[in-house]
Symmetry: C2
Amino acid sequence: MKVPSPSAREAASMYGTAVAVFLVIVVAALQGSAPAESPFPFHIPLDPEGTLELSWNVSYAEETVYFQLLVRELKAGVLFGMSDRGELENADLVVLWTDRDGAYFGDAWSDQKGQVHLDSQQDYQLLRAQRTPEGLCLLFKRPFGTCDPNDYLIEDGTVHLVYGLLEEPLQSLEAINTSGLRTGLQRVQLLKPSIPQPALPADTRTMEIRAPDVLIPGQQTTYWCYIAELPDGFPRHHIVMYEPIVTEGNEALVHHMEVFQCAAEFESVPHFSGPCDSKMKPQRLNYCRHVLAAWALGAKAFYYPEEAGLAFGGPGSSRFLRLEVHYHNPLVIRGRRDSSGIRLYYTATLRRFDAGIMELGLVYTPVMAIPPQETAFVLTGYCTDKCTQLALPPSGIHVFASQLHTHLTGRKVVTVLARDGRETEVVNRDSHYSPHFQEIRMLRKVVSVHPGDVLITSCTYNTEDRRLATVGGFGILEEMCVNYMHYYPQTQLELCKSAVDPGFLQKYFHLVNRFNSEEVCTCPQASVPEQFASVPWNSFNREVLKALYGFAPISMHCNKSSAVRFQGEWNQQPLPEIVSRLEEPTPHCPASRAQSPTGPTVLSIGEGKG
Amino acid sequence: MKVPSPSAREAASMYGTAVAVFLVIVVAALQGSAPAESPFPFHIPLDPEGTLELSWNVSYAEETVYFQLLVRELKAGVLFGMSDRGELENADLVVLWTDRDGAYFGDAWSDQKGQVHLDSQQDYQLLRAQRTPEGLCLLFKRPFGTCDPNDYLIEDGTVHLVYGLLEEPLQSLEAINTSGLRTGLQRVQLLKPSIPQPALPADTRTMEIRAPDVLIPGQQTTYWCYIAELPDGFPRHHIVMYEPIVTEGNEALVHHMEVFQCAAEFESVPHFSGPCDSKMKPQRLNYCRHVLAAWALGAKAFYYPEEAGLAFGGPGSSRFLRLEVHYHNPLVIRGRRDSSGIRLYYTATLRRFDAGIMELGLVYTPVMAIPPQETAFVLTGYCTDKCTQLALPPSGIHVFASQLHTHLTGRKVVTVLARDGRETEVVNRDSHYSPHFQEIRMLRKVVSVHPGDVLITSCTYNTEDRRLATVGGFGILEEMCVNYMHYYPQTQLELCKSAVDPGFLQKYFHLVNRFNSEEVCTCPQASVPEQFASVPWNSFNREVLKALYGFAPISMHCNKSSAVRFQGEWNQQPLPEIVSRLEEPTPHCPASRAQSPTGPTVLSIGEGKG
């Protein structure tokens, strides 16, 4: 890796003589030490053409992410960074650029107009720049938090990576406006938990669930449905791991994949391979909703904890599985064939515990609604102490993974555990949640839930583009707030969700009537969505709805399956009383700030061995 | 000022030999340059005994305060600093202490339990430590903002200074808990505006309004009332300046003083000199409420702008003035005599403009109320565009000073100017407001208000110690939210205040009834305070009251005097629509942070010339 390093002045003059050489020149700088070995377990293509490829690793000890960015066809430079939701404005960036005299690497940020500025505090640190046969390879690192107000805070959950390609040399960094560049975004869970891989049983076998030879449609978004079938008489097994199989060359097209088990009540499900929204799709496929496996771009293999496995096969369960593949094809590439899918690793030697999936959050009902034109409206669903007391075993359950779910307006999701009225732990939090990126995520720390604990799931929605209230429901334009908790040992409790008491909602509509000159329809024949649609959304009606949701009693769904409730009174339940809230996480400011450079790094250029 | 400076080691050994000497030893250190000359225009005693005396100066160019702390009878050290409201917990401190081996000066902070910690970032910089005949004199400086989360941000308005006295040497700074010390607080406007003194007219004369030979009562708080009388036939003059006269030796006892003019409708007001709450006090003194002058501890002379003066004397105005002196006597010193008062500087050569005082904020009415147990409940009063359009001259008015006023639960007050729906400027803001420290303050920048502008005055209240709602009104246990704006040229508009529409408040009580099982009295004979007293204060009723105040139409008082309204419809007015709010001020982080020491300063000790 070591390369001769001439001075910056030499480097500059070399650039001056031949800027075009920037495309192919061997660039190398060494300003720190790279992490030891096999340093980059995670990879993702950034752009659909595959020009930019990111590899990364996380050091939790240093609270630092190591990035390796491969730029395949470098022209005059590249921007890479992170932003709240993938926009190129208000983004935290590193920029590699040339002004014809030299090449520079600097920590920068873009303002709300997309104008790029050099950061007064340089927190991205370049460790190496090197030519490889595939392209220019930049190695740099960034602490999770920098305490610089222009910097992005790297947190658990989704991170929106952004990039931009510079076509021409620039007099200065300040000449860049991101609006004039070829840019894009890629979502990824940057802070992958570092969990040791559990050993697989000796008798582990594999099964590939893949749709053979799909002709990827020439359209931006396709959900492909495929029905697979377990062998006749396939006995009960435990899935202990699964991993993606992505057809080579299609890495940037296969966005996510899920395997569902169909409902046991159907003797058979017709075979099918086609778009999920096809009119040819058999109705029965809608009853294949029990998640067995889920993968999304950037994720690696999913392992069950050593003492648990997900049961499939055997009596009382369907032999039919539905594979769903989301093809994301923004360049509308045509004629590409694909056979991606998921490889299940399973064992006949059942592990000690069955793993289960429990649904937390809000009941799918229109009584929970979001006014239009809200930037961050929060709805909260509860799993009450009364329900966990009744349904969980005395030793509790252990949550090891979680998949968050909302529809289109969801922006944040968090589930918090409360014990004796005090919030004690975050089960899963995604402050940059995107409905377009729903992974099953291993938790960095297993969370134990005891009988009597409360689980509070809050979703934050943005309805700035809506004209009417967005009500809860199944429709894609309605909303959900769900956390699918993966845990063991499995219990009968499948669903622990809440919604506001409908009677109190009717009091709200009455109050709205009283305070507003316009008429809100509260006539008995009007449905709740109709009532919400006729609310005049002034500040008072918005605030009072918020206050209602924070005060009114709830209806609990404490259910064995979506239709069967545990015995007890579940209507008009009091909201759990929380006397102490968890504080928002505050970043550690790196102590080593003084060491970092205060301006951009001039790249030292030499002939590398790469 | 230069003194020989032996090494720290020498210093330490000197200390080791004779700790008691710490009391009298000559201490000197020079680590920076002191400001040029007459450097400390502002002075205040910190403790009632006069042991600690603070002088200071402000450099707006450097955004830095220079402090000089005189410690008269030094034992083992001293703590000095600032905190949100004068508590010794969560305080930002400098500490001078000795461990018997050495003497140290360091930037420290106390946590919520009063435990003192050395600050990782040293932002108080010691410039000099010197023995003087009066005691040890420490000179140090601090930037307004440090960007250190443990540091206090020095802002406009009230600053609560705190102090503590160390009686014994300590092994380390961490051995200090403020709860075990003799401590106290002093309120002061630290950031005095630097306004050039306007020239006084050649014919300026003075008049002293002082209560002669008052025997200060042996109780903690006394408001002393004294009636003074202008000479018979005293013609119209302009007050152009006034200053405090504080009897020597009583500097720590005289807390604030105000001169009021009595109402013109009384031919005469009986003479009186006694406590304002005395049963002997003539009733007519209650009609002496028009402020002519106000001074509080730490304030200096008050100058009117060169083109304006405050009219007094002449036909149509009372000849009687009421002086009110607040004696703050926490040590219950007895037998002390005082003749403090205010010296008015006035001229017969009337200036171009009469100055006026306009009252902004909330009408004194119980419809504006604060629920109990609130830590930061905000009430807002408006001066609407309709009123300023009608009452202000086309060229506008110029606000040069302001006095904020609430009763006991007030914690913050701010008035903001809005033009065309956008907040443009802060007229006056005090984020550490104390009802015990109500000064007339010169504005650092004169604010011009045009016809059609809106003035928004918001007060933040803390009612944690109240069991029932606190309603608006005149009583000391009721609340006010007032900004007395001093401006010129004088207009007829004396009062521009608002309150929520009473009809909408009744809708609120109805709603509270509907949503709560408990009964709220909305019967017509119940008064508003009674109605508020019967509200069960759950989260819903609190939030909805907030929402009501942020939404419901208002009644405006756009008055020539407290009884005479400008013509127009002032009931059921819409709330001013504000489309863009001013952002909270964010401090500049000093760029020179790298220069400051990272640990405490060891004091170099030598024989000074002081």
